[in-house]
C-alpha cells in the first residue's frame, strides 16, 4: 500500500509556469481523478509523478521514498496512455510481458503471469495477434494488462478512454472501477471528462491553469464548489452564475437593473461584488404571482426527452432551469422561478473563492419559517 505526497510541486518550461505549486496527499489505495480543462497542467502533473517530466521544484514522494531523482522504472508506477502506446511489432503477449522481459524474469514465469493477467481482462484469445489487428477497446485492455502485469505500487492513467466511443467508454469505466476494487492499488487518473471523473473518483482534484482549485469527494465538489471555476466547470448544464451585489434592502442587484429578493444574507457580504450561483436542477418553476418569485422571459428551450432546459432572461442575466413539466412554452413567454436559499452559492468576484454564507442564511431561513 502506497500513498503519494506532492508538496509544492512546480513545473516551468523555459519562461512559462505550467504547474504552480501543487500540494496534495493521495492516500494509499485511493482512486484519485485529476480533472481540468485541456492545458491546465493535469497531464504534466501525472507525468511528473511517473518520472517522464522533470520536477522544477518541490518534492514528490511515493510511499516513503522521495522520487524526484529516480528514473521512471525505479518508481514502481505503471502507466496507461491515451493512444495506448503499444509496440506495433510485438504480439499482445509480448507487449504485456515486455516489462517483465526487461526486468529479466525467466520465460516460463513470465508466460504464466502474462496468461493470468490476459485472462483477467479477457484477452486470452488474442495473445498472438499484433496490436494493429485489435479494436480500440481491446488495445486499451492490452495497455491495461501491460500495466497490471508488473504489479506496480501505483497506476497512472493519462486520459485513457478519450479515443474510445461513448458506449465503450462507459464499459471501460466499469472495468477500471472493478479492477481497482480487486487490486486496491493507488491510482491516479487524468481526464477532462467530468462524468468519467465523477463516476470513477474516490476523490477529485480539480485543476485550472496550473493551480489546484479544489480537492474533495465528488459529492463535495458538486455540492460545495470551492471556487467560481469549479462551480462553472462541474455539472452539466453548468451552474447559473450571476454577477452583482447584495444591497442592504434585501435585494440582490444584477444585470440591467435586475433585482432578486434575497434577504437572507450574512451582513459581511453586503455591497461586495460577488457572483451568486444556483444549479439549473435546483431552479424550479412556480406559478405566476408566487411571493418572491423571479420573473423571466424564455429565450429558447432545449428538449432532452425526459426533461427540458429552459434558457431564460432575467433582466439581462441568463438563467437555465431544468423543467419536467410539459406545458406549451415558447420563446418570449414569461416564466417564474424560485429556489431554496440552501442551494445558493456565493463567490467573491475578486479571487473567485467561495464565500461562506451559511450563518447568515440559517438565521434568515428561521425568520421566514416563523
Amino acid at each position: 500500500m502506497t500513498a503519494i505526497t506532492l508538496s509544492s510541486v512546480k513545473k516551468r518550461y523555459q519562461k512559462t509556469d505550467v504547474v504552480h505549486g501543487v500540494d496534495v496527499e493521495i492516500e494509499s489505495g485511493e482512486f484519485v481523478v485529476i480533472l481540468g480543462p485541456s492545458g491546465c497542467g493535469k497531464s504534466t502533473l501525472l507525468r511528473m509523478i511517473a518520472g517522464l517530466e522533470e520536477i522544477t521544484s518541490g518534492t514528490i514522494a511515493i510511499g516513503d521514498t522521495v522520487v524526484n531523482n529516480l528514473e521512471p522504472r525505479e518508481r514502481g508506477c505503471a502507466m496507461v496512455f491515451q493512444n495506448y502506446a503499444l509496440y506495433p511489432h510485438m504480439s499482445v503477449a509480448q507487449n504485456i510481458g515486455y516489462a517483465l522481459k526487461v526486468a529479466g524474469m525467466p520465460r516460463a514465469e513470465r508466460d504464466a503471469k502474462v496468461l493470468k493477467v490476459a485472462k483477467s481482462v479477457s484477452l486470452e484469445p488474442y495473445l498472438d495477434r499484433k496490436p494493429g489487428e485489435l479494436s480500440g477497446g481491446q488495445r486499451q485492455r492490452v495497455a491495461m494488462a501491460r500495466a497490471m502485469v508488473r504489479e506496480p505500487k501505483v497506476f497512472l492513467f493519462d486520459e485513457p478512454f478519450s479515443n474510445l466511443d461513448a458506449k465503450l467508454r462507459v464499459a471501460m469505466r466499469a472495468e477500471v472501477r472493478s479492477l481497482h476494487r480487486g487490486l486496491g492499488v493507488t491510482s491516479v487518473f487524468v481526464t477532462h471528462d467530468q462524468t468519467e471523473a465523477m463516476t470513477l473518483a474516490d476523490r477529485l482534484i480539480i485543476m485550472n491553469a496550473g493551480v489546484v482549485e479544489q480537492v474533495g469527494k465528488p459529492s463535495e465538489v458538486y455540492n460545495r464548489p470551492a471556487s467560481l471555476f469549479v462551480a462553472d466547470f462541474i455539472g452539466s448544464p453548468a451552474m447559473n452564475l450571476v454577477r452583482g451585489f447584495f444591497a442592504d434592502d434585501g435585494y440582490f442587484r444584477h444585470g440591467k437593473g435586475g433585482m432578486i429578493h434575497l434577504p437572507t444574507i450574512a451582513p459581511n457580504l453586503l455591497s461586495k461584488e460577488v457572483s451568486v450561483g444556483v444549479r439549473p436542477e435546483n431552479v424550479r418553476r412556480v406559478p405566476a404571482g408566487t411571493k418572491g418569485a423571479i420573473n423571466a422571459v424564455v429565450d429558447y428551450i432545449e428538449e432532452l426527452g425526459a426533461s427540458r432546459l429552459i434558457y431564460a432572461d432575467v433582466d439581462g442575466s441568463r438563467i437555465v432551469a431544468v423543467d419536467s413539466a410539459n406545458d406549451a412554452l415558447g420563446t418570449g413567454m414569461p416564466v417564474h422561478f424560485a429556489f431554496d436559499t440552501a442551494d445558493l452559492h456565493v463567490f467573491s468576484n475578486d479571487d473567485g473563492r467561495r464565500l461562506d454564507i451559511a450563518t447568515g442564511l440559517a438565521a434568515t431561513a428561521a425568520l421566514i419559517n416563523a
Binding site: M79, Y98, V102
Partner: protein
Amino acid sequence: MIERSPIFNIVTYATMILGLLLVLTPFWIVIVAGSLSLQEVSQVPLKLWPSNHLLENLEVAWTRADLGPKMINSLIVAVGVTVGKITLAALSAFSIVFFNYRARMLCFWLIFITLMLPLEVRIVPTYSIAANALQPFQVILDTLGITWLVETVSGVRVGLEWNLLNSYTGLILPLVATATGTFLYRQFFMTIPDELVEASKMDGSGPLRFFFEVLLPLSRTNMLALATIMFVSSWNQYLWPLLITTDRANFGTVVMQLKALIPAQNGTPDWNVTMAGALIIMLPPLLVVALMQRWFVRGLISRDK
C-alpha cells in the same frame, strides 16, 4: 484524380508505354548487342534482334576483364558501404532525434550540409585524407608545436601516417560518410509517437534496449529501402574507385573494368563483348532491386504502424 473516358485511358496508356519504351530500349540494345557476333555488331544499321553468340561473348568478357575477382571486390565494397551506412545512419539519427543535448542542432546541420557536398565535389580533399587518414592530427600537432617539442626533446620526428589508398577501407569509408541515410532515418524516427518512447521508459528499458528492441524492428522497411539504394549506388561508383585504386589487379571494381572492355581507338571494334560485360556487371544491382522492390516501395512511402 479519377477520370473515366476511353480517350483519356488511351492517352494514359500511350504515355505509360512510351515511358516504358524509353527506359527499356537501352537495356534491349545491350542484350541484343551482347548476343551478336563481331560481324553482326559492326553492321549498319544496328541489328535489333538477338543472335546466338551471347554465351561466348559473356565468356570472353568474363576472362578479358577478369570479372571474377573484380565481382568479389565490388561486392565487398557495396556490402561494406551498405552495412556501414545503415549503422551510421541509424545511430546518428537515433542520437539526433531521441536525445536532448546542447549541440544537437549543430550536429544535425553539420550532417545535413554534407547532403549538399557529394563526394565528387570534395574529391580532392577526400583523396588527400585517404592518402593519409591521420593528416588532420598531424596538422594539429604541427600547429600546436608539439612536433617541434618532441623533436627537440627526444630527437624523434612525429610523423603520423595511415595510408588508405589501395585498400577496402579506403574504398568504403568515404562513401559511408554522407547524410542521405541519416536524413531518411531521422524522418522515420520523428514519426515514432512520444508515447511509445515513454511507454518503453515506464517498462524500464534503457535507450540501447529501446533502440534494438523497438526502433530497429520498426524501421525494418526503411532499412531495406536504404540498403537497396546504397547497394546500387555504391556498386555503380566509378570516380572514387578509379582515383584511389592504383593496384587494379587486386582492388579494381567491375565498373572500372567496364572501361577496360571498351574497344581501343584502333583496336577490334568488338562492342558485342563490351555489351556482354555490361550485362554481367549490371546483374547484381538488378537482382537486388528485384528482390527488394516490395520493401523498397513500402519503406519510402507508407509506415506500417
